[in-house]
């Protein structure tokens, strides 16, 4: 009497085809996103992973008293007169000695051999000597950074062919480096310094690290989280649940949507004018940076929170009000937990945006070369008031530098930033999964 359920009729077939197509579009969309993600991450990781390994030279550096402490009294004032420029020849001598000891033949001049050592190394030695004046007198073993080109050679960035064209190194130096490595004088180690050391100047890519930037980003994210999340959620709650629906709230609504469209650099202009020039907060400080980024993140959080609040069915509110809960209680006890996934999504995306943003920091002095670690609190500068940079700034800086060794550092910094982002967002992601439910 009726059609069999086992065989679909033409219309059903057509509809099912549409269904399959629709689902395929969805899968394709996910595919596109994932492919893009994989491509981007692969390129970042392959280019950046090298930043986490670094070539070191282990040599005994002679520390003659005649050069380092002319007075012989270990008087700091005298000893600190010897600058890194004065130390550099000692390191070179150390390496030359080591080469001789290992019986390695080379045609390079002593000066050229010295070029294998990073310019940072002299500071390493000097700092150690000034901290331990008793070292002066006999040679001391140091693990020193190798020059960036040599490091690049071991990582495959520099080749014999490119070195032949390169003013800053030569195939002979690379040859010597090979021998030094065979002799155990040069080693490649995990590069902790990349995560802890401060930035270094353009002449020392091998010494550049993310220490200051990580601290700066951490401080700023604390400020952003502490300001943007509560303020954003509070504002959304007011607008969505309490505010009378009138012109004024329309104005606020449009206004917030519009703030989302304000280019981030304009927030920098705002920060400079209001927080630094008017409120007299310290320039280059994570506090100001955090406040600016918080303002920038606010619309994202508000828009997503409002959307999430709107999606909670009214029957839940009715139920709470019906048992005598106040509006406030119904919102905080029932509506907010149900809206939590959307709020957390807004937070995740907002923080991601804030963590990766450079432009507004340009105007408040955080796009900077900073070598001293910022303190979270100091009596002179207050809370988060020390000058610092941030991870995206470091990436932006490094991608602009002339020495190609910085490309690898920049990509390494991007890996670090993404790991930072994931760690920061894990809590939110886990929480969001717990709150997700259908009703």
């Amino acid at each position: 009497m009726t059609k069999s359920l086992y065989s679909a009729d033409a219309r059903t077939k057509r509809r099912n085809a549409a269904e399959r197509r629709f689902k395929a579009y969805g899968a394709a969309a996910i595919g596109i996103a994932m492919v893009a993600l994989v491509i981007l991450l692969t390129s970042v990781v392959t280019q950046g992973i090298g930043a986490f390994r670094q070539t070191y030279i282990t040599v005994d550096v002679p520390l003659p008293e005649a050069k380092l402490d002319k007075s012989g009294t270990r008087d700091m004032a005298v000893m600190s007169k010897v600058t890194t420029i004065g130390y550099a020849p000692l390191l070179r001598d150390g390496l030359v000695n080591a080469i001789a000891e290992a019986g390695i033949q080379t045609d390079l001049s002593e000066k050229e051999i010295g070029d294998l050592i990073s310019k940072e190394a002299a500071a390493t030695v000097r700092n150690r000597v000034l901290a331990h004046p008793d070292l002066i007198g006999q040679p001391e073993r140091f693990s020193l950074l190798a020059d960036g080109r040599i490091d690049g050679y071991f990582k495959g960035r520099v080749t014999m062919a490119s070195a032949a064209l390169d003013q800053n190194t030569s195939p002979e130096k690379l040859d010597l480096a090979d021998k030094l490595r065979d002799a155990g004088i040069m080693q490649i180690k995990f590069n902790w310094a990349f995560l802890t050391a401060p930035d270094a100047s353009d002449q020392r890519p091998e010494a550049a690290g993310l220490g200051v930037a990580i601290l700066g980003s951490l401080y700023m994210m604390i400020v952003v989280l502490v300001l943007a999340l509560p303020i954003g959620v509070a504002a959304s709650i007011y607008l969505e649940e309490f505010a009378p629906k009138n012109r004024w709230t329309d104005v606020i609504e449009v206004n917030i949507a519009n703030l989302a469209a304000v280019p981030s650099i304009v927030y920098g202009i705002l920060g400079l004018a209001i927080f630094i020039n008017f409120m007299q907060f310290n320039q280059s400080s994570p506090l100001v940076g955090g406040m600016v980024l918080a303002l920038m993140t606010l619309p994202t959080i508000i828009i997503s929170t409002r959307a999430a609040l709107k999606a909670v069915p009214p029957s839940i509110r009715d139920a709470a009000l019906g048992v005598g809960a106040s509006k406030m209680q119904s919102v905080f006890h029932h509506v907010l937990p149900l809206a939590a996934p959307g709020i957390l999504t807004g937070t995740i995306i907002g923080l991601a945006q804030a963590l990766g943003e450079t432009a507004p920091l340009l105007l408040i002095g955080m796009v900077a070369f900073v070598r001293d670690y910022p303190e979270a609190y100091s009596s002179a500068t207050g809370l988060f008031g020390d000058p610092s940079t941030a991870l995206p700034v470091q990436i932006y800086n490094w991608t602009q530098r002339a020495d190609p060794a910085f490309v690898e550092r920049a990509q390494g910094a991007i890996i670090t930033l993404l790991v930072f982002l994931l760690i920061m967002n894990t809590v939110a992601i886990v929480l969001r999964r717990r709150f997700e439910r259908r009703w």
Binding site: K23, F242, V262, A273, A307, S326, G346, Q353
Partner: protein
């Protein structure tokens, strides 16, 4: 930071006050909280809020006043004293008021509501701040440069020696074109991704894919920019633009638009996914029960019900597209141009704001000041677009709900 001490005092007083208020509430109730008009914890909350809020407001007021009066250095002694006195008064009052009949819940809710209102005015203050921080420079720009040229000239070519053409129209055109392409890519992709995640994918896949897609929002835009510059640009040029005779520029609106679209996917997908997920299951059941397929249910019932939230997500993505710099610089180039050809290099308002602001020209010259005028104009234009969007959404939404 002479205000550190008062801050500490406030915190300590708040903790003490909350404790005292609870204790007192319990004792006046004779150990049976059912005699109380409000719960002890509400008395505690009221104590905290009464202790914290007024002094904090006072601190902010003082900071503002000091700046306005151009007062420098540490605050005079009476300021921290007054602030601490306020906190003490808050504790004392809130603890003394505790009684069986005192409605602490109403009181604390009034505080909270005040805070909520305060939070929502921050958005207004931000706007005021933005306008103020750009207004004076903009005015001085228009003193030096004719506004008719700025708004109506179709030529943008700043020049070091002055005599620049600073017409905003090619920049606006570029902004619209690039944003359009980015959204045309990101909105369908993001929406389909959201639908797939919330309606088709299992919880495990969803648990992995959703955060993974969100990484796209966290990748620094410089990475996208370089991707556009070194990969997408040449690819589009070699396989589309040149064979199809659209010219041979690697930097193009298309390049920047597509790459920006990738970045925007999570803005659309993650938010929409949450909203779609919040549509009650009974709606889906109603449709499935009538013999609708899943996709029909989604298209005709679920998505319309989630529409307000989805529109919010799309607006957010659009906003992000307008504000993006790096991808445009590296993907679309820096040349201001009006053209319909999507494979030509163009640029956006935002890019020019950044480049004029960070350039080498005299900071008091129109070439630099134009950045502020651009910023303010863009602000007004997006405001207009948002008003329009609100109006449209309202009209459309009325059919539902």
């Amino acid at each position: 930071m002479s205000l550190t001490l008062p801050l500490l005092v406030i915190i300590v007083l708040a903790i003490v006050g909350s404790f005292l208020a609870r204790r007192r509430a319990l004792s006046v109730s004779g150990g049976d909280i059912r005699h109380l008009a409000s719960l002890p914890k509400q008395h505690g909350l009221n104590a905290i809020l009464s202790t914290v809020v007024p002094p904090l407001l006072a601190i902010i007021a003082w900071l503002m006043a000091a700046r306005i009066m151009e007062y420098r250095g540490a605050a005079p002694l009476w300021v921290p004293l007054a602030i601490m006195a306020l906190a003490v008064a808050g504790v004392v009052l809130s603890v003394v008021k505790v009684s069986n009949t005192f409605r602490a819940r109403t009181a604390s809710e009034t505080w909270i509501k005040g805070l909520l209102i305060g939070a929502s005015t921050i958005a207004i203050l931000t706007t005021v701040g933005i306008v103020f921080s750009m207004l004076f420079e903009t005015i001085s720009f228009f003193r030096q440069y004719p506004w008719t040229e700025f708004f109506f000239s179709t030529n943008w070519s700043p020049n070091f020696r002055g005599n620049s053409d600073l017409g905003i129209i090619p920049l606006l055109w570029g902004t619209l074109y690039i944003s359009f392409i980015a959204l045309a890519f990101a909105v369908p992709t993001g929406l389909f991704a959201a639908i797939y995640l919330s309606e088709y994918a299992g919880p495990r896949i969803r648990g992995i894919v959703k955060p993974a897609i969100e990484i796209l929002a966290g990748i620094p835009t410089i990475v996208y920019g370089l991707f556009a510059l070194t990969t997408v640009g040449p690819f589009l040029r070699d396989y589309f633009a040149q064979p199809m005779g659209f010219g041979d520029s690697a930097s193009s609106v298309m390049t920047a638009g597509l790459v920006m679209g990738i970045m925007l996917i999570p803005f659309v997908s993650s938010l929409s996914d949450d909203i779609i997920n919040a549509v009650p299951q009974s709606m889906r059941d109603g449709s499935l029960g009538l013999g609708a397929t899943k996709s029909e249910t989604i298209r005709q019932v679920v998505v319309p019900a989630a529409l307000p939230g989805i529109v919010g997500a799309v607006l957010l993505a659009a906003s992000r597209a307008i504000g993006e710099t790096m991808i445009v610089v590296l993907g679309a180039g820096a040349a201001a141009r009006i053209s319909l050809n999507p494979f030509e290099a163009m640029t956006t308002v935002t890019v020019k704001i950044v480049s004029q602001l960070t350039g080498d020209t005299d900071f008091a010259s129109p070439e630099t000041l134009v950045a502020f005028a651009l910023g303010l104009t863009l602000f007004v234009i997006t405001l207009g677009l948002n008003v329009l969007a609100l109006y449209i959404v309202r009209r459309y939404r009325e059919q539902y709900e």
